[in-house]
Symmetry: D2
Subunit: 353 residues, 4 copies
């Protein structure tokens, strides 16, 4: 098959020329062209699984003894993809970490351009506050802290709370559009009653003549109970997808679109015994196992996962899922950013060669 580019031969004459190019802040494109224009996505990030119960959780508790939430600002263990070591990222475009807040602690109020999602793994009494409203977080709840909204966390309960953070700061920072500022005080005031956003915007109603103030969902807690119920219904009343099982996306009720401009989030149910067909898509995806046990193949890698595990499948990896028991997987990706730029592709299933 014809090649996109074959790197030209080199010579002393050319090398000397290249050295003079460098002095003028230039470079020969033909020496890099193949690398800059891959035939198909070639991520440096790799598939990784993090064993929450055996590895992450003990390390988090240990971090809890070593540093306070306040001193850390955010006590988080970054899930760093070994394929892009030193980046503090889970893929080239997204960040994920596991945050813990102990009883009595607070993570002080601040805001930043990056959008963030939180997916709750453990704990029932901690809260996230966004723009004056607190929401109590329970396992399986999907929480948002939209770009440039003041947010903080606290834990008035008597047990630790752990969740997965997902942020788009790699994209924001690459565009050099990042701002951040702390709140003048440790904690913003509570100005709205808990449940306000979900009641005000989440009942298939909106306040009359509602004008969104931000490019993100006006609701910031999607409770697991509501999501689980919807998935159960689809499971019992319809056929799932041959690759994805029963899969749904979280939605901004004021637009019907993704909840944040660069981050999409999904919940999927794989029935017991599910053997999904292979698929691939350009949006690398980070999974958090909510319920059940199963196995995912990502390229040559095979992950056996169980409840609370987290794993990442990079862009365009040949992927398929199996579920030994009924399983629920939360996931998120940068699909909205790719769609906004006309770049997203998916083959589900992958057509035979």
């Amino acid at each position: 098959m014809k090649s996109f580019h074959v790197k030209p031969h080199t010579s002393e004459e050319r090398q000397e020329f290249y050295a003079r190019l460098e002095k003028k802040n230039t470079a020969p494109l033909w020496e890099s062209l193949a690398r800059l224009f891959p035939n198909e996505p070639t991520p440096a990030s790799v598939p990784v699984l993090w064993n929450y119960t055996d590895d992450i959780r003990p390390l988090l508790l240990e971090a809890g003894r070593l540093i306070t939430a306040k001193e850390a600002t955010r006590r988080v263990l970054v899930l760093e993809n070994p394929g892009i070591k030193g980046s503090s990222q889970i893929t080239e475009s997204l960040y994920a970490g596991i945050q813990m807040i102990l009883p009595g602690e607070i993570a002080p109020t601040h805001r930043h351009s990056a959008s963030a999602i939180r997916f709750i793994i453990e704990g029932d009494g901690a809260y996230t506050a966004v723009d004056g409203e607190r929401t109590t977080m329970h396992p399986g709840d999907f929480i948002l802290t939209p770009s440039w909204t003041f947010h903080d966390h606290g834990n008035p309960s008597d047990a630790p709370c752990m969740w997965m953070d997902g942020l788009d700061f790699p994209i924001v920072n690459m565009l050099n559009a990042a701002f951040a500022e702390p709140y003048p005080k440790d904690l913003q005031a509570v100005t709205k009653k808990e449940g306000d956003a979900l009641n005000r915007y989440g009942a298939n109603m909106l306040p009359v003549e509602f004008q969104p103030e931000r490019q993100s969902s006006p609701i910031f807690n999607y409770p697991y109970s509501r999501t689980r119920e919807a998935l159960d219904w689809l499971y019992r009343n319809g056929r799932g997808h041959e690759c994805h099982g029963i899969k749904m996306q979280y939605v901004d009720p004021s637009t019907g679109s993704y909840p944040m401009p660069a981050i999409a989030a999904f919940m999927q149910l794989l029935p017991a015994g599910f053997h999904g067909k292979s698929y691939r898509s350009t949006d690398a995806t980070i999974y958090s196992v909510v319920e059940g046990r199963g196995r995912t193949r990502a390229g040559e890698i095979l992950f056996d996962w169980k409840e609370r595990d987290i794993f990442v499948v990079p862009s365009w990896y040949r992927t398929s899922h199996e579920a030994h028991t009924e399983a629920l997987l939360f996931s998120f990706s940068d699909r909205p950013a790719q769609k906004a730029l006309g770049l997203w592709r998916e083959q589900a299933p992958i057509a035979p060669a």
Copy 2:
């Protein structure tokens, strides 16, 4: 002023813990938090000016003697920002290079996910072909080769043709959504007459029931004459902007929006004697001087520029322009990508402290 994050003190105990974190593909967020969440954009890229006449042009002609367009696939001198050496990029999110095609040469047909713009500096007889139509390129013309369209260049004239390329491959590659393929033959067939797109889509008319096939403009040559005329009109019939002079944006006539999903392009006229006020915006901008002489201040850097020079101003640099003679500046940036993600900010002028 209260700080977003103060890096915690370190200790042997903590360092030992961090080593164990690394083994499990994790890392302590609090060690990187300040770096990942800057208070405001802190690009590593720096303001740079390339002297086309004295530096780039001679080097290009030398490259013309050292390698053929066909062997190079594209004979381009990358404008590499010394602040991000080795990246082959002019800013963290954009690429720019100067391409030359000699009389009789072709640059073979291919396509890729990245969108590209071409801004013509020299030459009157070379062409760019997109999806079966060729367009002859003249200085000041703004040419597009949209994502995934087959394109090539040729020069049937007897003089070299040089132009500035701008591509969004840094964004595409970071999202790991990049595909590329060569055309089966060196050159795609010519299936449409020259001028087709501009006549068909550029006269404030569209074919009845037109459905865009792509997320980019259906016209791919914006001739300088038409643009210059519009700018002249605005100059003689209205007040310019106190920072930007008379500035216009190229538009996709089938949407009224930017010509490509991630790249905006502009042409601005600075009247002789123009002393613009300072401004800053989150979209780093690459300028090509079409006509005239002037000076741009970017942060602490002062550029004296003349015709055909190229310079880059990174994100959020305090910028102001002066024109000694009437001057025309072409420029491009990633403004549409920033707006799609709700990130774009501009202060024009910058309010007094």
Copy 3:
């Protein structure tokens, strides 16, 4: 004040000319100009109140003895505005009627271009079916039968069911875009389980990669309980509008916009003792009293309304509401059609002269 147009004087010469104009299918515009271009909306429709309990209900039951639902196709008493007698319409652009279906009856399946809403007044066991799914209707439920979807009604319960229909056929017919067809059989098959749409689309989730098939909401029953709850919340946690009280709009969860292209629907709560300020808007509005007692002033007309009454306020009438007890008003209007055409105006409150 200067006049838009003063009708010219007439003369025998002119009249003779006008007669010749008529023979050529022409007419003198200046004879009609003032009528065709009113200074402000001048509806022929007038404010009307229908006393459901004392007038409509008995007449409906009598109709129930005089004709079957099947013979009538739809057993409906049209609410005809006396200002536009003979039109079968409640305003110039909208239709409303009260439909009754008796135990054991069906209203056969058909479809038409006009969109329809149903607001349930009485009865707990009747159903509406849309595209293979039945939904049981309860008082206060807001039901949609979108344009060109097959729909029918049935009543397997042992009590009559009455509801208000609202349709946009005046708009559809004026545009001469109306199609209609019966289903081959009396009743379409039931292919989905009851509750499917609300579970599938109404939980702030959507099936992954959901593509709407129609320009209307994918959910077709907005239960009163859910709406009442949202309104209660807003009532207890915020200030209502000085004219509208606590007012919310029903929303298409797949767009965040109105549930149908030409019809908006609202529910508003007026606290006991509410004395609203005067307002006016270009969208004539039809109200159905769900709970409570109050009074509405529309121009010079004063309506004392109680539960189950229906009343209409034409376009641009100076309107204000009072509530003697806590009151809930359902309403609908053509606001989306007006907004789509750039025509909607509201003054709430009306600024002092």
Copy 4:
């Protein structure tokens, strides 16, 4: 075939009931259902042709002797469809008239909610002014006066100017959203140089960060020369449509969509000898013959038309065009209003039964 509705039998009992219904401002729907829900569009308007040269022009000149433009406010002969006599309309949803302004006259400045188009038939020196800019009108030019913009006409030349007006006031008035007001003086001030809008917005450029102020095109004169050129190009470089020949739509350059919210406008070229296939669409269309001679079949009616004739084809009529010589037809319809409400249908060509 099964019927949508069969009108029930009547009886004395039922008639007496209907009389009591009327007293309570109600009516039996089943007596009107079939009329209100036609199987397919059944316009009362009929196909009509107006012979401009032999009929309209002489009558206009006579009107010119009988009344001044100022006294008439607008000296226009309404093209009134005999199928809807007394409506002052050409179709149920649109208005058309032929306006004449004599040398030295003015048609005073005013504004109204209705949008208007003007298609110039005769004359070269008259102008239309919109929001402070005058544009000189030439035959074949397509002029807009958007909703609520102050507009007026004048004729400083020495020959009369005649043009076809098209307005959407039937839609605006039916929605009862109509406002109108005269300008305080006879003529608004000229604040922009002629050609400003077209230069500023029509060159595939827009002023940087342009925000549309209205829901209509920012350009208000689409010169015939530019449109003719585009059509010629498409004619010589591609195949036309088997029903429509070479047909293009006028476009708002700031959106890529129709130039006004409720009115679409088109120009089509039928090559000499063109024999188009039959088609039908729900948007009734008004044609003005710019060049050439031909014949249009609309249902059972056959029109032989020549230059300057105007004819109307109502909704859903089986239509086909023939051209004896090369012919250019301007046309307009309410297609955008129909599309906004999800109602537009076209069969082109009509599939065999």
